[in-house]
C-alpha cells in the first residue's frame, strides 16, 4: 500500500478565503491593540503629570509618580510580550521551543522584578515625601492597609504566574528532550 498516496487523500474542510480573511483581521486587531497600549500609556503619563502639577494633596506627588511608574512597567511588559510572539513561528522547532523556555524563564524573573520594583517604589515614595516635606511620612492605618493589600495582590498574582511558568518550562523541556532523544536512538535497521 502506498501510504504517501493514502495520506494525501485527506482534503481540507474549510473555506480558504475565510481563513485568510480571519488572519488579516487578527493582524489588524494586533496592530490596533499595540496602538491602544501606547495610547493608554501616554494618557496615563499625562494624567500622572497633571496630578503632580495640581498638587491638591500632600500625597499628590507620590501618587502621580506611582501611576507613571506602574503604567510604564505594564506597557514595557506588554510590548515585550507582543514583540516576542510576533512571527516567532518561522524559527526551527528546536529554536522555537528554546525561545519559549527562555520566555517562560524571563516571565519568572519578571515576577521577582515586580516584587523588587514594588518594594523600591514604596520605600522611594516615602523617602521622596520625607525629603520634600521635611518630615517623616505619616503611617496612617489607611496608608498601611493600602500598601499591604496591594502587596498581597501582587504576591498572589505573581506566585500564580510563576507556578504557571514553571509548568510551561517542565512541559517544554520534556518536548525538547523528545526532539533530542529521537536523534540519539540507535538505528536498528
Amino acid at each position: 500500500m502506498d501510504i504517501q498516496q493514502l495520506w494525501q487523500t485527506q482534503q481540507v474542510n474549510a473555506s480558504v478565503e475565510e481563513l485568510i480573511a480571519q488572519a488579516k483581521r487578527r493582524q489588524t486587531r494586533m496592530a490596533l491593540l499595540m496602538l491602544l497600549d501606547i495610547a493608554i500609556w501616554a494618557g496615563s503619563v499625562v494624567f500622572g503629570a497633571l496630578f503632580i502639577r495640581e498638587n491638591a494633596a500632600p500625597t499628590s506627588f507620590a501618587i502621580g509618580l506611582f501611576i507613571i511608574f506602574s503604567v510604564s512597567i505594564a506597557t514595557a511588559y506588554m510590548a515585550w510580550v507582543r514583540a516576542n510572539t510576533w512571527g516567532a513561528d518561522s524559527l526551527s522547532p528546536r529554536g522555537l521551543i528554546t525561545l519559549m523556555i527562555r520566555r517562560a524563564k524571563a516571565g519568572k524573573q519578571v515576577v521577582t522584578a515586580c516584587y523588587v520594583t514594588y518594594l523600591i517604589m514604596v520605600m522611594g515614595i516615602l523617602l521622596i515625601e520625607a525629603i520634600i516635606y521635611g518630615s517623616m511620612p505619616i503611617f496612617s492605618l489607611l496608608r498601611i492597609s493600602f500598601i499591604a493589600s496591594f502587596g498581597v495582590v501582587i504576591v498572589v498574582v505573581g506566585e500564580w504566574y510563576r507556578a504557571k511558568q514553571k509548568k510551561v518550562i517542565a512541559n517544554l523541556t520534556s518536548r525538547l528532550a523528545q526532539l533530542e532523544d529521537n536523534l540519539n536512538e540507535p538505528n536498528n535497521d
Binding site: Q4, Q11, V16, D89, P93, L96, N182, L183
Partner: protein
C-alpha cells in the same frame, strides 16, 4: 525590499498559502484528533503563517516555510489542548473525505499511527508523506538529512508492517 516588491511577495504568498492549505490541514490532523480543535488549530496556523509572512525571504520554498510554521504552531498548541476536555474517541466523519469507506478507515488508522509517534518522528513522517525531500525535511526540522533518512526508514518500516498485518 521596496514597497511594491513587498506587496507582490505578500500576494504571491497569499496565493501559495491557499494552495498549501490542504497540506497544512493534514499537518494539523497529525497533532489533533478532535475535529473542532483541528479547525481551531488550522485557523491558528493560518494566522501564524500570515503574521510570519513578512519574514519570508524567499531563500527556501514557500511550501517549506509554511510547513515549518504549521509544525511550530502545532507543537505549541499542545499546551492549549491539554487544558481542554480530552477527546473521547472516534474521528469526526466530516473531517475525512469518505469517497470510499475502506480508504477512509485506512486513512483514519494512518492518522492514528502518525499521532502516536514521538514528536520528531511525527514531524519528519508528515513531511515525508507530503512529498518533501530529505533535504527539505532537514531544513524544516533543523536536523541533518542523514538523520532524516534513518528516522524515515525506521518509521516507514513499522507503518508498512502495521498496514500489512492489520489493514490488508
Amino acid at each position: 525590499m521596496s514597497l511594491l516588491q513587498r506587496w507582490r511577495t505578500k500576494n504571491a504568498l497569499e496565493a501559495e498559502l491557499k494552495k498549501q492549505l490542504p497540506m497544512l490541514s493534514r499537518i494539523v490532523a497529525s497533532y489533533e484528533a478532535d475535529a473542532d480543535l483541528q479547525q481551531e488549530l488550522l485557523q491558528e496556523v493560518v494566522v501564524a503563517a500570515w503574521q510570519a509572512s513578512s519574514q519570508f525571504e524567499g531563500r527556501a520554498k514557500a511550501k517549506t516555510f509554511f510547513a515549518r510554521i504549521a509544525h511550530n504552531r502545532c507543537v505549541t498548541h499542545i499546551d492549549t489542548a491539554v487544558r481542554k476536555p480530552q477527546w473521547s474517541g472516534g474521528e469526526d466523519p466530516e473531517a475525512i473525505v469518505s469517497y470510499d469507506s475502506d480508504k477512509a478507515l485506512q486513512l483514519e488508522a494512518l492518522q492514528k499511527q502518525i499521532r502516536s509517534l514521538p514528536l520528531q518522528q511525527r514531524q519528519i513522517m508528515t513531511l515525508f508523506l507530503e512529498g518533501f525531500s530529505y533535504n527539505e525535511i532537514a531544513q524544516v526540522c533543523d536536523i541533518k538529512s542523514s538523520n532524516v533518512g534513518v528516522i524515515i526508514n525506521r518509521t516507514k518500516q513499522s507503518l508498512t508492517e502495521f498496514f500489512n498485518e492489520d489493514h490488508r
